[in-house]
């Protein structure tokens, strides 16, 4: 792809401005939970209670160690920002009836689209760090200190792949009226499908195969290996697989976004609520 195709005729300055400043402004405008009164209960307290709930469920059923559930849930909670945040960042433009003016501008679509992902990715990363920190304080979770830098990489990559997945859901919101219903189902379904709460080996073959193409599966597998001090090549391979899944979802989401943009222009779907 040539630089002009990537950045548009206005060049890189314009691309970065739309990507960074546009992304930040859209995050401030469209992310429901940005005020502390919303952020603390929704993005910190609820994920913390989720970790505690599943750790105790795991202790009751005896299916996995505390570390299994702490790592699985702490990484999974980054998808709250990725899935809901990206759904808000894209499809709320339609709800607030600001989508048509944005798409009428000549701004680079890739910059508009990707710019919305960066603040969401950072939010997801923060949420996971909070989950690990609190688990260390109250559940005695102790990951292998030597693996922490690679664990951080695994979390960033997983947050990015969840953001890519959320971008696809958000793009669906350009067409579907109640996209949050789909986001809700997606958020809870990954708990079951991606090996967060149930070991993948216990799931039916079809579900296991599906999990390979979803975000979180490989990131969590890498996280568990790293937390146990068994990093090495397998964990790196899992991180790379997670990255590939994320890039694939983001590319699919971008194509979906452009498709719905074109068809929305033709049918006037943007103004239908």
């Amino acid at each position: 792809m040539s630089a002009v195709a990537l950045t548009g005729r206005a060049g890189w300055d314009h691309f970065w401005r739309v990507f960074l400043i546009g992304g930040l402004i859209s995050y401030r405008a469209l992310f429901y939970w940005i005020s502390p009164w919303q952020y603390i209960p929704t993005m910190l307290a609820a994920p913390l209670f989720q970790i505690l709930f599943f750790v105790y469920l795991g202790r009751s059923t005896g299916v996995g160690s505390t570390s299994f559930f702490v790592v699985g849930n702490s990484i999974q909670i980054c998808s709250m920002a990725g899935i809901y945040g990206m759904t808000m960042a894209i499809s709320n433009e339609r709800q607030f009836q600001t989508l048509s003016p944005i798409l009428a501008t000549p701004s680079n679509r890739l910059a508009i689209f990707l710019g919305r992902g960066l603040p969401v990715l950072i939010t997801g990363f923060q949420t996971t760090c909070f989950g690990f920190l609190v688990s260390a304080l109250i559940l005695g979770f102790r990951p292998d200190p030597g693996s922490l830098p690679l664990l951080a990489v695994a979390v960033v990559v997983t947050a990015a792949s969840c953001t890519g997945f959320g971008m696809a859901l958000g793009s669906v919101g350009l067409r579907v009226r109640d996209v949050f219903l789909i986001s809700n189902i997606a958020y809870f379904a990954v708990l079951l499908v991606c090996g967060v709460e149930v070991p993948l080996s216990q799931l039916p073959g079809g579900v296991r195969a599906m999990a390979q193409f979803l975000p979180l599966t490989h990131g969590i597998a890498a996280g568990r290996l790293l937390a146990a001090g068994r990093g090495g090549g397998t964990a790196v391979a899992d991180i790379l697989l997670e990255l590939a899944v994320g890039v694939a979802w983001a590319a699919f989401a971008y194509l979906l976004f452009r498709y719905f943009e074109r068809s929305g222009r033709r049918t006037g779907a943007f103004d239908r609520l």
Partner: protein
């Protein structure tokens, strides 16, 4: 004379049950068609039931599948209550309905009670769904030890959760971001009331919290009726909790109504 007109001519106390029943039925019809409520009462409990049952089968199998099916069912009722009732007054205000409802010549608390009980009743979807799921997917032997007591326990649990919803609805109204409290309140109540995790595994300081929350007694009564045991003591505690919620709810709604009228904030968003 039509039944409706005859009821309308009854004195206020005799008209109250009709207000409650009509409100309950109308809310039930409305919520039963809401995509969000179906997700909350059907899809979400099934996912949690599957997780718990799969973990049970992969783990030590110390508790029967039915234990988790019933717990996940109550989890669904709690979620519908938390999301459906938590913002009940705020939602009526948002819809522009709060003023007409407060002005209606019936106690406002009865109107709200119909709404919260209707919302809790939708949660029964989850109970039926998780029991069916346990039987079909996990091949659990779903045979209720005392079906009559089970039905009674289900009704009492729904009523008590509906009344708890009344308390939440009237207290959350003081907090502008009531939906974020709802987001936060799902997991802790699922945990401390022993819906999927036995209370004996939780720290002792959580037990007093469990005792004042109706789901604790409701799920214990349902489990006793389904698996064999004595459901009556738990049902008694559940009823007692319901009466306490009713008294608190009536007081809170009265306070909120007076405050909103005197400050002229009924129509404020």
């Amino acid at each position: 004379m039509s039944a409706g007109r005859a009821a309308a001519q009854l004195g206020p106390p005799l008209r109250w049950p009709r207000v409650l029943v009509v409100g309950w039925f109308y809310q039930l019809k409305m919520q039963a068609q809401s995509g969000f409520m179906i997700m909350t009462a059907l899809v979400q409990p099934l996912i949690f039931a599957t997780i718990a049952m799969a973990d049970q089968q992969a783990g030590n199998r110390s508790l029967p599948i039915l234990f988790y099916a019933l717990g996940a069912g109550i989890m669904g009722i709690w979620s519908t209550v938390v999301f459906g009732c938590g913002g009940v007054i705020s939602w009526q205000r948002h819809q522009g309905m709060l003023e007409p409802l407060v002005m209606a010549p019936v106690p406002f608390v009865l109107v709200l009670m119909g709404i919260t009980l209707g919302t809790a009743t939708v949660g029964l979807y989850s109970m039926g769904a998780t029991l069916l799921w346990a039987a079909v997917v996990f091949r659990a032997h779903v045979q209720l030890a005392d079906p009559l007591a089970f039905i009674l326990a289900a009704v009492v649990t729904v009523v008590s959760l509906g009344l708890l919803g009344l308390v939440m609805g009237s207290s959350f109204v003081l907090y502008r971001n009531s939906n974020s409290i709802s987001n936060m309140l799902e997991y802790p109540v699922w945990l401390v009331t022993g819906l999927l995790v036995p209370l004996s595994l939780l720290p002792g300081w959580t037990h007093p919290l469990a005792y004042v929350l109706a789901p604790t007694w409701g799920v214990q009564a349902l489990r006793a009726a389904a698996l064999g045991g004595q459901p009556l003591p738990d049902l008694g505690w559940c009823l007692l909790a319901s009466l306490a919620y009713l008294a608190l709810g009536v007081w809170l709604v009265g306070r909120v109504e007076v405050r909103a009228r005197s400050a002229a904030t009924l129509t404020f968003q």
